[in-house]
């Protein structure tokens, strides 16, 4: 499969476009609200911004039903294994958005208690700057992620399409 | 117990030491009075008026400057009254009339006394709306110092530091009233060896250093206390880093050593640490020149080659630019792993190791303050040990009598009560006359009889017989109430000698002849060759003749620093295998088969011992450049490859081992240095007596007679590899010149500025100097144009036709 993905023929590109279209428009986030960013994430799902427009209003409580993990908030060292387990339990294909300064780099909490960037624990596809990023910032991240997926720029390293 | 007086500050009675200035006494009891011109180490002038306080007198309370006022019994002082507050606000508003508010641009911003005191004591708002003073800025007053006159608050600190402390009256105020400004004398740059101190002293950003300009800000600087490795005084320094690079070195007030002062070389040489020419990876000689190799390959090569020789066929030169721990590891490696006693940290340019390391009775630097007479027989202190020069100068200012003996004019002559001038090579003749108080030397002899005497003895130049210093030390020793300091100059040479990097010394100031200690050391090390090894000169001769086969160079450059550079060159070319631990490819390490990149000052931690035997902590402030490693870590790995565990991978372990096996260093553990000493270091031995005590006696030294004898003194800014690689001071390196007495010049015949050739190879201009005795010539060593000149006692000088 990896070979096909690298040298796509006509049929497979068309199929892949279709698959990507389907994936981008039904991306269900796993709720991983850890701190203040989570409030903005909830706001993004609510009426004023309405993530349902992009087919992703269903924040799933179970990682097994989710495609996208939005890490919203600072990740403490103690939370890191939990976060990794949730990520491992998600079914492929799956994507991770690191929302806000703390999740992306540790932000102003450059100390022993916090993971200095969630990409130390899970692979991150999209970083959304902000402290916290407003709903529109987060949506910009989501839309950019969708664009990237549609363009085929993001594939899972496991090789599973 | 000094006398105390009781004074009353702000309604609280305090007992303070008598004879102090009020501002100092108040600070000692916790009442800080703001100040600009006052500095503990400078004479009071009362210029800035910031320290005004109310003092009760016969006419009621009056405002008086506390920096010029001596405390007296029953003095009643108010530092916080409304009148004082108004005075302080007034002074600050007045100072800020002309001080520009360009703090965001100014390098002092963030650590500026004017900023801080305006915040704490200032009026908060200025009523001044007129234009401020306007100057051309900045003007370079020397190669290392810039002056922004509009920022100056005329506190006189720099002028006093240059005049009183350094003895270089090169800065002055001109004009009057509103037009006062500071300046140098026309066409006379502020070319003092101590100009950097004024940058540190300046309470505003008027004086800034060239190399720190706009480099970093005070709040992002990391601070590490360490000691300077430029000379053996080991001045305490604050090595300041920003983003993993050294950006500035400031002096720390260690009253037993440097009192906060530094020479410009101490202050500005650090940039060589980040030189692009540093060796950053192991270099192994290939078919065409050096090729980079991995550490493991290079070390395996070194281990297999060194293991293939008999112990006595290998020698090690150097280790004086390393910490005590590195030096100890080198001594242990060479003696117990390689099995060789051929070790020397001096390059034939020093003294008898017994004299240098174990002279008894040994003086301390602050003994100079208590001495009635100071006797200097040795190198020009201003050129070789500038901070010691400041200490001698201070002692003389406070009343000590200074007697200087040297073969040419030195920086100390101006303050010396008696100058004994001798023709280079004929020192022992003069010393004998002088010791017996012959005609012409009565005054000096009389001064020496008035104790206590501190004798500073060393080798005035490489061309002088090393026994001369011993002879002079013997004369000093014969005086009542006398103490001695020997004057070696290279970085941590005293630590290296104490760690056994000498052919006749074992670690801890033990003679190799001391069997009892040798046995103890053998138990600790597993193996120890007995007997005395070869000195550097002997090693080089044996290498050249083939009696020795391999050489370990540790930060040493014998081709530049040996008395006979030609011999060093031949020896290194003849050697079968040479491994160099060095930070640069030098004139010597270029002959090596393997160069291992060495971590240098600023990158290594440990301890170091200065010329009075004071052990201080050396702390790393940046990571080693590239793949450079400390000597002890590298030697530990090489020893492992040779099947021996040196236990030297960790510096603290080595320090503890030294404390255990080196008698003079008993008790000098990392914990002791950190917690028991007050941060200024401790003199070894801590308690008890060291096993070896060298008591100098008067010896006779042959007198050299020839047409022109050579005086070959060191210069502060030389053409050494460190000076060359420090951009700030590289341009200050001295140029070769031949100083001659006018009478000798007229016989050649040459005039001022003419070109002469020395030994038919070295050409340089002539300077006429009547401080040079007739029949002698003065050529600075290791400066631009004298590389390779042999330090023989006499030289052949010829005028070059058409050279002028």
């Amino acid at each position: 499969m990896a070979g096909i993905a690298r040298e796509p023929g006509f049929l497979m590109t068309t199929l892949e476009k279709g698959v990507n279209w389907a994936r981008t428009n039904s991306m269900w986030p796993a709720s991983f609200g850890l701190a203040c960013c989570a409030i903005e994430m909830m706001g993004t799902g609510a009426a004023h911004n309405d993530l349902a427009r992009f087919g992703m209003e269903v924040f799933r409580a179970s990682p097994r039903q989710a495609d996208l993990m939005i890490v919203a908030g600072r990740v403490s060292q103690k939370m890191a294994p939990v976060l990794r387990q949730v990520y491992d339990q998600m079914a492929e294909p799956k994507w991770v958005i690191s929302m806000g300064a703390c999740a992306s780099t540790g932000g102003m909490f450059n100390n022993y208690a916090l993971v200095q960037g969630v990409d130390e624990v899970v692979p991150v596809d999209m970083y959304v700057p902000g402290c916290p990023p407003g709903p529109q910032s987060l949506m910009h991240g989501i839309l950019t992620l969708q664009q990237e997926i549609m363009a085929g720029n993001i594939r899972r390293s496991t090789g599973v399409l | 117990m000094p006398d105390t007086v009781s004074i009353n500050i702000n309604g609280v009675a305090h007992d303070v030491e008598a004879g102090q200035r009020l501002i100092v006494a108040a600070e000692s009891v916790g009442e800080v009075i703001p100040r600009f011109c006052h500095h503990d180490k400078l004479e009071p002038v009362g210029k800035c008026r910031m320290c005004l306080v109310e003092v009760e007198g016969p006419r009621g309370k009056v405002l008086m400057p506390s920096c010029t006022l001596l405390v007296s019994d029953g003095m009643v002082v108010d530092t916080e009254s409304a009148v004082v507050k108004k005075a302080q606000e007034g002074v600050l508003e007045f100072l800020l009339i002309n001080h520009p508010l360009d703090c965001p641009i100014c390098d002092k911003g963030g650590e500026c006394p004017l900023q801080d005191q305006t915040m704490q004591w200032g009026p908060g708002e200025s009523r001044f709306v007129e234009a401020k003073r306007n100057f051309e800025k900045p003007i370079p007053v020397s190669d290392v110092v810039l002056l922004d006159r509009e920022r100056c608050v005329l506190c006189d600190r720099c002028v006093r530091a240059a005049d009183d402390i350094a003895g270089d009256p090169l800065l002055t105020f001109i004009d009057r009233g509103n037009h006062v400004q500071i300046q140098t004398f026309p066409n006379e740059p502020f070319s003092s060896y101590f100009s950097g101190n004024t940058v540190q002293l300046c309470p505003v950003g008027a004086l800034t250093s060239v190399d720190y300009r706009f480099k970093a800000r005070p709040w992002d600087l990391g601070h590490t206390r360490s000691v300077s490795f430029v000379d053996t005084v080991h001045s305490s320094v604050d090595a300041q880093t920003s983003r993993g690079k050294l950006v500035r070195v400031y002096g720390i007030e260690n009253d037993r050593v440097n009192e906060g002062w530094l020479s410009d070389k101490d202050r500005f040489i650090f940039s060589a640490v980040h030189s692009p020419d540093r060796v950053t990876a192991p270099l192994v000689r290939g078919d065409d020149g050096f090729e980079e190799a991995s550490w493991s390959d290079a070390m395996a090569l070194v281990a297999s080659r060194l293991g293939g020789y008999l112990g006595g066929e290998v020698g090690a030169i150097g280790g004086a630019n390393n910490t005590n721990e590195e030096a100890y590891t080198l001594a242990k490696f060479m003696r117990s792993v390689v099995g060789s006693s051929n070790l020397d940290a001096q390059l034939g340019d020093g003294l008898n190791p017994h004299l240098a390391a174990t002279v008894t009775p040994r003086a301390t630097i602050d003994d100079l303050d208590r001495a009635a007479t100071i006797f200097v027989w040795g190198p020009d202190l201003k050129e070789t040990l500038p901070v010691l020069y400041l200490r001698v100068r201070k002692a003389v200012r406070n009343g000590a009598t200074l007697v200087v003996a040297s073969p040419a004019g030195t920086g100390l002559d101006a303050i010396a009560a008696h100058v004994v001038r001798y023709r280079a090579g004929s020192g022992s003749d003069v010393l004998r006359k002088f010791a017996s108080g012959d005609k012409g030397y009565e005054g000096a002899r009389e001064a020496l009889d008035a104790g206590p005497v501190v004798g500073l003895v060393g080798r005035s130049s490489l061309a002088e017989d090393p026994m001369m210093a011993e002879a002079a030390a013997g004369v000093v020793r014969s005086l009542p109430d006398s103490k001695l300091l020997t004057l070696l100059t290279r970085a941590n040479i005293y630590g290296a000698l104490d760690m056994g990097l000498a052919p006749n010394l074992l670690p801890g100031r033990v003679s190799t002849a001391d069997d009892e200690h040798a046995e103890m050391l053998e138990d600790a090390w597993g193996h120890l060759p007995r007997g005395t090894g070869r000195s550097t000169t002997q090693m080089l001769e044996d290498l050249a003749s083939g009696a020795m086969r391999a050489m370990v160079l540790v930060g040493a450059d014998p081709v530049r620093d040996c008395p006979d550079p030609g011999l060093a060159q031949r020896a290194l070319e003849a050697a079968e295998f040479v491994v160099a631990f060095d930070a640069f490819v030098t004139d010597s390490s270029i002959h090596a088969d393997v160069i291992l990149p060495a971590a240098v000052w600023g990158e290594v931690s440990g301890t170091a011992t200065n010329l009075e035997g004071r052990v201080q902590e050396v702390n790393a402030s940046v990571r080693p450049a590239g793949q450079a490693r400390s000597l002890n870590a590298a030697l530990d790995d090489i020893a492992h490859l040779m099947g021996v565990d040196l236990r030297a991978a960790k510096v603290a372990d080595v320090t503890r081992e030294i404390a255990a096996v080196a008698p003079a260093y008993a008790g000098i553990t990392p914990d002791h240095l950190t917690f028991e000493s007050d941060g200024d270091g401790v003199i070894v031995p801590l308690e008890g007596e060291q096993p070896l005590k060298f008591i100098p006696v008067e010896v006779s030294v042959p007198v050299v007679t020839s047409r022109l004898t050579l005086h070959f003194p060191d210069a502060l800014y030389d053409d050494g590899v460190w000076n060359r690689n420090a951009p700030t001071i590289a341009g200050l390196a001295r140029q070769a010149e031949a100083r001659l007495h006018p009478r000798d010049a007229s016989m050649l015949p040459v005039h001022e500025g003419d070109i002469v050739s020395i030994e038919e190879r070295f050409v340089m201009p002539v300077t006429l100097d009547d401080t040079v005795p007739v029949g002698s010539i003065v050529v600075p060593r290791n400066v631009v144009g004298t590389k390779g000149l042999t330090a023989s006692t006499s030289v052949k000088v010829e005028a070059v036709e058409g050279g002028a």
């Binding site: 992306s104 780099t105 999209m126 700057p129 950019t144 | 003007i139 706009f214």
Partner: protein
């Protein structure tokens, strides 16, 4: 009687939905339409210029010093006298902000003595790679006409004209951020007043510093 209310339950639920039909919708159709930000919204930073095109930043590192997240890296350098980058002696030679570490607190804006750094309404900075989130001086510095640069300016999601909407523009052009001074330059970073004659005294040539 509970079965009747049970039976009506679903209809009550649908009634809630039906009541909303016909009411105006509150959902903003981002990205087609954007919410109008409050004037003091803290978006990403820009480095401003004076009217004559000179950079306002003098490289004083106060912003870096005050930054609680340590996300700003500034290095100053000597201003080349023949082609000055900013007025005065010093200019910002390196200026980088890690937008991912930044917490948009605007302490840098408050600390800046020359109003060189201000915040805009730009908020769309999502990146797929961490390195792209480090904005260098090229991206932070506005064009001479005041238009900010953006690393993804051609993206349909970006509207660079937003800069002028907020108080960032006002702050950039007025002293102390007061609206009534908009466009009035009150601070000059020049330590020396170019209109005044230079006081007599030593000059760089007569110190002999260069040949000493």
């Amino acid at each position: 009687m509970t079965w009747i209310s049970d039976l009506l339950g679903p209809f009550k639920g649908f009634a809630v939905t039906m009541r909303q039909v016909g009411k105006p919708r509150v959902t903003r159709k981002y990205p087609q339409e954007k919410r109008v930000k409050p004037p003091r919204f803290h978006g990403r930073h820009v480095l401003n210029r004076y009217e004559d095109g000179m950079e306002k930043c003098i490289g004083c590192e106060l912003c870096a010093g005050v930054c609680p997240a340590n996300c700003i890296y500034v290095r100053g350098a000597d201003n080349p006298p023949d082609n000055p980058v900013s007025p005065g002696e010093r200019y910002g030679f390196v200026y980088e902000i890690n937008m991912l570490r930044c917490i948009y607190c605007a302490m840098c804006v408050e600390a800046c003595p020359t109003e060189a750094i201000t915040m805009t309404h730009l908020f769309e900075m999502s990146v797929t790679s961490k390195e792209d989130a480090i904005y260098t001086k090229d991206e932070l510095l506005v064009d001479p006409d005041g238009t900010p640069n953006h690393p993804q300016a051609e993206s349909p999601l970006i509207d660079v004209k937003e800069l002028r909407l907020g108080d960032g523009w006002m702050r950039a052009t007025s002293s102390a951020g007061r609206a009534e001074y908009e466009g009035v330059v009150a601070w000059t970073p020049q330590a020396r007043n170019p209109d005044l004659p230079v006081e007599a005294g030593q000059s760089a040539e007569s110190t002999g510093g260069d040949d000493g």
